[in-house]
Symmetry: C2
Subunit: 629 residues, 2 copies
């Protein structure tokens, strides 16, 4: 079949949906329902030929609009994929932009002190007759002498060893992948001579929405570059739950999802390699941080039981494996470490982020918050840590909101409402005409509407207001944020009563999670000395508004700090330090996980937090004066 | 192209010789020269079409006889492979025959005490909410409790774990592959429920000429069956040196040789599996014993430096690998251990054999002798061990002898010469008409001819004898062992003067090796309390004759014992016991290797041993009276 306007021809497999064929062709379609056919984001246009739907009905009218996830090619149809159905691949994180955050902390001029991949240059004496001069025995003894470690080699290393040793007169460079405990190591590669070219590693942030790869010179401890893009798994569902369902219910679904995320990582690695002219085999280590579902899928492990009581992941601590086993386009023997998690909804992205941002290392009580589809939070002073995950729903990602969208060009990322005339001042990403609203914009919108008296503390529209922006449709009341004449697509951008309820549930879940943790350890929110906001969403979070709507604790704003992509920094720290990797393991073991679903307290807290900011205004002293009630 | 009379059609690859195409088609041709085109054993007949020789000349006459190793197909020729050019695949070792020796020693009624593969049946409690109920963490803790070991699992095991745990209500059977030291273990397989079907392992004797596989029930410690056949590598050369050359000089040669030996092992495993109705995946462990060249080639490691000064093998101690990496048709995750060697010409076949036959375990001074193409010998009392390897040449394998052949049907395996009339009484393998003479027959022939006065103590024919059996050809004097009318092929079977010199060199090398070891530790041969003869050749060795020609020490014959295929028993012992595997490693480390090539003493001893039995008759007191001089 053929795709337009790309004009890509591709063979069609048996029982493959157009969505799947497109994915193989490198065309990533949008999708939020995991292929259930309910979200209507993957609509495509039939130009020639025919398709068949799941019920068996044939569609053959040129111009017909069909759901790619529910249509199968009949013969060799020609399909047009409109721009609106494509998941746009843009650089989520350009190296220039984030370089400051990426490189903070770990870099030294002398290189890492206890690297996870250690390069050793040795020169053996030529072998003497007598004794037992086997190549591997002599190299092993020398490596033990130099490193103090028991060094292992797999047979495939031994296959290359005799030639490598003799090529440069018994001088070789050995790259050792260290065990986490540091007591042993396995050879990743032996090369002839004393190598001067660098050896690299990649730190990978396996986000549900976004994947970021950072390329690091392992000897210098220096970041060479970083790139991010959308996770190609998005074609199979927006959130982890829909992907778990897809992996379990579709034949081959688990493999499809693994390939999608590995492809995403490989694309970024290839891009970085090309930019910096680095050989694939020069990258000899990888450390990946992801939530538990992403970690399972990346490793090809069925995540089915993550969503079934009692929510048992297949593993919290993952054995290192080899890049070649996963299909990563780096040295096939490169060790791949996946950071350890705590429970089904608290993974290596959080343990890595918590450890990398030094949460609790100073003995102060710190709260770590990473809000995406799930709100993942950790509280503690280092001696103890509690953690939880609350399902905030996809509202902060722009999903489940009538005009919601991700934080890409044209998204309203902040707005203000003038109190008198109910005028709206918008700021959009990229400065373009608005086409929707993303998470940070939603928080600002809710705060602004409450301040202006458009929305009351229970989240209801004030019915009696005299403004054309507030209007009642057949089923809903809605507030117009931007008129059709002002927008990029010629349609109104609105916020409905249902949107506000979704947003309330999301913010209430986060705050109730924080309250539940505080209660579990008998602390008050004022005792929190620092609040660290992590993750891509946190970066643009209008903090004052988030506190105002009761999503985050009302403590002096200077206690808040944005720590950037802490998961990636966790992976990077481990890439450069075996002790850091072990430290992330200690964090994972130390965190006591609070299963909120089972707690009556959480439900009570949740209900109280469904008000703006809260039923108990004493919890939000600085906010009390703000509301015009 | 097509092969007759098999009528096999096969695609021809680029620049592939007919020998190589035939090998891929499963037709194993004979060959002694490693494809050099000098031995003429792989002759085939062109029936249709044409072939091209290495020089580019085209042969197109139907009926033309060409060397398969030096001919390339032109188009799609039809080639007939005569029976005489085929390496006949027969059962070298039938299970019934050898069962007594195979099963001796290690079997117990309670099963192995410290198995190398340990089966554990556990039942986990269903997971509780709270805590961190990850599947692998809980299983790992239970396995640590039950076994006292740190148990590892690779990601591919974790992929199967969640389903296996839940299928039979958290009861699983775990097969653990233990580390040699016994402190840790890796999971080979997890299956649902408490398995009642057995788990198996294979012990493999990787001989240069013959490969034997023994299938063992690992829980009961019982041998299920054993089979042997010719090593398919024989098509690429008779001895280790010609195979090393083939592996190094032919492009893809190393891979061809690896595939040939792995195919040989797989054929035997498949045969055993079919006979005993066992699934491929039920075999979950393998231990292999081979000489250093065979071990290198089996693992795909270049053995080139084995034959170059200072004779450094790539490794003496091999890391375990997985069956899937080598292409063995057992469980792909089954650990494969290759027994450790001592030096380039003293390998795991000897360390395994020495350990399994209890050499020196009683504190007595024992000599272990395994004679094939190389004579490999170990001497010691257990506290100390010395070992050496002497190149006996291929005479004992029937090679390099004008009418020599392997020990198969029609080979003269023993003979006597009447002193007066010079009549010869032959015994052949299989009772068939003689077609040649094998190693044991050669030893008997030499002893018989000296006793009868046909050959003098220097190995020369007595020129003045009146018998038609002794005749002078253009270039040689030869003795007719069997007349054309008595033989299976209608040609005389003779022993030439050159044959006798080859045989003398072989026996002198063995005896000089033994003398060198004795000298190195300051012992006399009479202090040897036991002499253990190992290997297939040893089984039919005419001991009295071997002593009479001065190949083995003249000590009371009751000190000699035949220990059978001790290498295979070494592999089997390790298969059932981690301590035994460790013990073989200790043996390998304990043996002081004597490099005979560098020793003046060895050359002196060798020259003295070129007489029958020796220049110093005092060394052979029991033999002195035998000779009719």
């Amino acid at each position: 079949m053929r795709f337009l306007p790309d004009n890509l021809e591709i063979e069609v497999g048996e029982a493959e949906t157009i969505l799947e064929v497109a994915s193989r062709a490198g065309i990533t379609l949008r999708g939020a329902c995991g292929g259930d056919g309910t979200c209507g984001r993957c609509l495509v246009v039939l130009r020639e030929g025919a398709v068949r739907d799941r019920g068996g009905d044939i569609v053959a009218e040129p111009g017909a609009v069909v759901r790619a996830c529910h249509s199968f090619p009949v013969g060799d149809p020609v399909i047009e994929v409109p721009e609106t159905s494509r998941l746009r691949e843009h650089q989520v994180l350009a190296e220039e932009e984030e370089a400051g955050i990426l490189q903070a902390g770990a870099e030294t001029t002398t290189g890492p002190a206890d690297p996870l991949l250690r390069r050793v240059r040795v020169s053996l004496a030529p072998p003497e007759p007598g004794e037992t001069p086997d190549d591997w025995g002599r190299l092993q003894a020398e490596l033990a002498r130099v490193t103090g470690m028991a060094v292992r080699a797999d047979v495939d290393v031994l296959r290359e060893l005799p030639a490598a040793l003799r090529e440069k007169n018994w001088a070789v460079t050995v790259d050792l992948g260290l065990d986490e405990a540091g007591s042993g190591a396995g050879i990743v590669m032996v090369q002839a001579g004393h190598a001067r070219v660098p050896v690299y590693g990649v730190a990978v942030d396996l986000g549900t929405t976004t994947v970021v790869v950072e390329l690091v010179d392992l000897e210098k401890g220096r970041t060479v570059g970083a790139l991010g893009t959308y996770n190609r798994q998005a074609a199979y569902g927006d959130d982890v739950i829909s992907r778990i369902i897809y992996a379990g219910e579709r034949s081959g679904g688990r493999r499809q999802l693994q390939e999608a995320v590995v492809d995403t990582v490989n694309t970024l690695i290839d891009d970085l390699r090309r930019r910096h002219r680095i050989d694939r085999e020069a990258i000899r280590l990888a450390v990946c941080a992801g939530n538990p579902t992403m970690s399972h899928l990346f490793l090809g492990v069925d995540p089915a039981f993550i969503r079934l009581e009692p929510y048992a992941p297949a593993a919290n601590f993952w054995p290192p494996c080899r890049a070649g086993e996963l299909g990563l386009v780096i040295h096939p023997r490169a060790p791949v470490h996946v950071l350890p998690g705590v429970a089904s909804y608290l993974g290596g992205d959080v343990t890595g982020g918590v450890t990398a941002s030094g949460c609790g290392a100073g003995g102060e009580i710190v709260l770590y918050v990473d809000v995406g589809t799930n709100g993942e939070m950790v509280l503690g002073d280092g001696d103890w840590l509690v953690g939880c995950s609350c399902s905030a729903g996809p509202a902060f990602e722009g999903s489940g909101i009538s005009c919601g969208m991700r934080a890409t060009d044209g998204a309203i990322e902040w707005l203000g409402v003038t109190p008198g005339g109910f005028e709206v001042i918008c700021r959009t990403i990229g400065g373009e005409r608005p086409v929707g609203i993303c998470g940070s914009g939603l928080i600002a919108a809710l705060a602004g509407l409450v301040r202006a008296g458009v929305v009351d503390r229970a989240g209801r529209f004030a019915a009696e207001l005299e403004t054309p922006r507030l209007r009642r449709t057949e089923s809903e009341t809605e507030f117009v944020l931007a008129w059709a004449r002002e927008t990029g697509h010629g349609k109104d951008v609105v916020l409905t009563g249902a949107d506000i309820q979704n947003l309330l549930r999301a913010k209430a879940a986060v705050y109730a999670g924080i309250r539940s943790m505080l209660a579990a350890v008998g602390l008050e929110q004022d005792q929190i000395v620092r609040i660290l906001i992590a993750g891509g969403f946190g970066r643009f979070l209008p903090l004052r508004d988030a506190v105002a709507i009761g999503m985050l604790p009302d403590v002096p704003l200077e206690r808040y700090a944005y720590v950037g992509n802490a998961s990636l920094r966790g992976a990077r720290a481990a890439l450069l330090s075996g002790r850091r990797l072990a430290g992330i393991g200690e964090t994972a073991r130390k965190i006591t996980y609070l299963e909120l679903g089972d707690e009556t307290r959480f439900m009570d807290e949740f209900m109280s937090a469904m008000f703006i900011p809260h039923t108990d205004l004493d919890l939000f002293p600085s906010v009390q004066g703000e509301w015009a009630q």
